[in-house]
């Protein structure tokens, strides 16, 4: 008998149960505001998923996941905004008029066509991550330096979004008047449909990543995390693996950005705030960065607690969150999933040294 936590069949079963339960939620919840709130949690869970991939498995502490999220969110916001514009009568969004623009900036032109807009919202951040990753990892920038560089890029993008008022509506952000129109359908953010779209994306990405982590690629990115130099002297291009995993995580965060705007119908520079990106890392740390599903649950728990406590207690909550984070980092580096692992390990067998590893 070995630890059931490491049993691949048990893992897949846990994933199946988890996503099935999530799929049934809208059938049990009447309140549309709650459905919308839960859909938001799904998207935040997706961000934690991207952190788990890049940090937990890739060993790359990126504090810039918000770049992909934010850029994608702006792309989606622009797409949905343009769906409300009319080429004849109302060719440019009203916030541009108040900022003294007389014609639509070239940057906005492609977003007339919604599929192109959504594609750009996904591709541009992913390419940005590929480029930034290439620059960093070819130079063998590692550890805390990656954290600082990603942080710097994030804060640079934040100030751009904040300051380029005529193009981004600055501090106010873009709030498209109508829900997303997709192939003749209108995706009401408060509907179960929106929830299910978000869930479908989360499920597909999680299962896809889980399968990926069981591939040779998954093994090598973990090997690179453990000892990049050893991996290099086995003949692997460490940079190529790091760029791949960094880019993938950027893509996941970009999907989250697109879904987020579909669900909240709003995007502002807060998506690019430094504290938001670090908070994603907190979710993953709480749930367990070495577990995809753990990270998602971490996001659910922290955000669930936050909205349960409400806005009056927000500052108190952030205080507690900071404290909780310190405690987790200090005493529980693998989060709740790590806790589960050791508990199950005790049930499964006493010999702690037998069998371990495997992506969870």
């Amino acid at each position: 008998m070995s630890n059931p936590y490491h049993n691949p069949k048990a893992q897949w079963a846990a994933y199946l149960v988890f996503f099935t339960v999530l799929a049934c939620v809208p059938l049990m919840v009447e309140n549309t505001f709650t459905v919308n709130l839960l859909a938001r949690f799904l998207v935040l869970g997706m961000l934690a998923l991207s952190v788990s991939l890049v940090w937990g498995y890739g060993g790359i502490l990126s504090l810039g996941q918000g770049i992909a999220f934010g850029l994608a969110a702006y792309g989606m916001g622009m797409t949905m905004q343009m769906q409300a514009q009319d080429p004849e009568n109302m060719p440019i969004p009203s916030f541009m008029l108040t900022n003294e623009l007389t014609e639509l900036p070239a940057l906005w032109e492609p977003f007339w066509h919604a599929p192109t807009g959504i594609a750009l919202a996904l591709i541009v951040p992913t390419l940005f991550f590929a480029a930034l990753g290439t620059i960093m990892f070819q130079a063998r920038v590692a550890g805390v330096f990656v954290a600082i560089v990603t942080l710097a890029m994030l804060s640079a993008w934040y100030s751009m979004a904040f300051d380029m008022q005529p193009y981004t509506a600055g501090f106010n952000g873009i709030s498209p008047p109508n829900p997303l129109q997709l192939g003749g359908y209108s995706v009401d953010p408060y509907s179960a449909t929106a929830y299910w779209i978000a869930l479908a994306c989360l499920t597909a990405l999680t299962l896809g990543l889980k399968a990926l982590l069981h591939s040779k690629f998954g093994l090598i990115i973990q090997a690179v995390r453990e000892d990049p130099e050893r991996a290099r002297f086995l003949g692997y291009s460490v940079a190529a693996y790091q760029v791949s995993v960094f880019t993938l995580s950027g893509f996941v965060a970009a999907v989250a950005g697109v879904l987020w705007v579909m669900i909240v119908q709003y995007v502002s520079p807060t998506a690019l705030e430094v504290s938001f990106s670090v908070t994603m890392v907190i979710w993953a740390a709480v749930g367990g960065r070495m577990s995809l599903i753990g990270a998602i649950i971490g996001a659910f728990l922290v955000n669930g607690m936050q909205s349960f406590l409400g806005d009056e207690l927000l500052y108190g909550f952030l205080l507690v969150l900071g404290g909780l984070f310190i405690v987790i980092v200090r005493f529980l580096p693998n989060g709740l999933a790590g806790l589960l692992e050791s508990v199950l390990g005790r049930f499964g067998k006493r010999a702690a040294s037998s069998d371990a590893g495997g992506p969870v």
Binding site: V149, A152, M153, Q165, I326
Partner: protein, 301 residues
């Protein structure tokens, strides 16, 4: 803002003043980065709460001034001492349990920064406070084509003084020798009877104190508010990273370089673009010199 007037044309006097502003910028970034550089260089700890130590320095000044009526110039050294004491406590309670886990220290100190910001917000309140500086520092001076406030000169002076004192402490004193020994090799230093734990506590406290000193001055330029620290932290990190780990001279040169580049970019475009391009430039710089300006690449094994 109109796109047509986006680029500012070159003009001698404003440009010279932009260079001067760059120098002032550099002194602000350097004093904010100095403590960070020492703590990272010696202990390998990235302190994400460094900005919050700056904030604590500003609040210390504010409280000393409003509650006890202490004159500003006396508040500055007090801010150093009080924040250093807070730093020492935090090092003993938290940081020392996380050595050898640099990424975890980074995250734990982020948690700490949340706690400090929210703690101050709950205790002192979220509204901005003012720190009054002496009248003679509020005046401006005119010199050739330059126009500069005395307060900026004051910051510049304090930064240079702090830099020189830090250099002297590290290079010329026994404590500095111990710090350098521990930086080189903790185990061997410990084998020669150096209490590495105490050296770390002192180093962290000193770094925190420098942040407090910076905060005392920053509070007087702008307002004092709970998340003011966030406004300095990224630039301070970049100064350290570009300068090279563990190199004081590197930090000085990189602060100067970054400050001037920023200021010149800002002169021709605007502050936001300047920041964006400066940060991008740093990333590209690291592509070619990941170890920074003054630091040798470290070998292992």
């Amino acid at each position: 803002m109109s796109v047509n007037h986006f680029w500012t044309a070159f003009a001698f006097e404003p440009f010279m003043n932009a260079l001067l502003i760059g120098l002032s910028m550099a002194s602000i970034w350097l004093i904010a980065a100095l403590g960070l550089a020492i703590v990272y260089g010696t202990m390998g700890v990235i302190n994400m709460a460094h900005g919050e130590f700056v904030m604590l320095g500003a609040y210390t000044t504010y409280l000393l001034q409003s509650a006890f009526g202490l004159p500003f110039l006396l508040c500055v050294p007090c801010a150093f001492l009080i924040v250093a004491a807070i730093g020492a406590i935090i090092e003993k309670l938290l940081i020392r349990h996380l050595y050898k886990r640099p990424l975890d220290t980074l995250l734990a100190t982020w948690g700490l920064s949340l706690v400090l910001v929210q703690g101050v917000r709950l205790m002192v309140g979220p509204e901005p406070k003012n720190v009054a500086s002496p009248a003679f520092l509020n005046a401006s001076m005119q010199f050739w084509v330059f126009e500069l406030s005395w307060f900026r000169v004051f910051i510049f002076g304090v930064t240079i003084a702090a830099f020189v004192v830090t250099w002297w402490l590290l290079q010329k004193t026994r404590v500095g020798l111990m710090v350098r020994a521990v930086t080189q090799n903790k185990e061997i230093a410990a084998a020669h009877g150096i209490d590495a734990g105490r050296v770390y506590t002192l180093t962290f406290a000193y770094g925190a104190g420098l942040a407090g000193l910076a905060g005392a001055m920053f509070g007087a330029i702008k307002n004092v508010f709970p998340d003011m620290g966030a406004g300095y932290i990224v630039e301070a990190f970049l100064v350290v990273v570009v300068g090279g780990v563990g190199s004081l001279a590197g930090s000085l040169v990189s602060a100067l370089g970054l400050g001037e580049i920023y200021s010149v970019f800002a002169y021709f475009t605007n502050g936001t673009f300047a920041k964006f391009w400066l940060f991008l430039l740093v990333v590209i710089f690291l592509r070619f010199r990941p170890q920074g300006l003054f630091s040798e690449a470290l070998a292992r094994r």
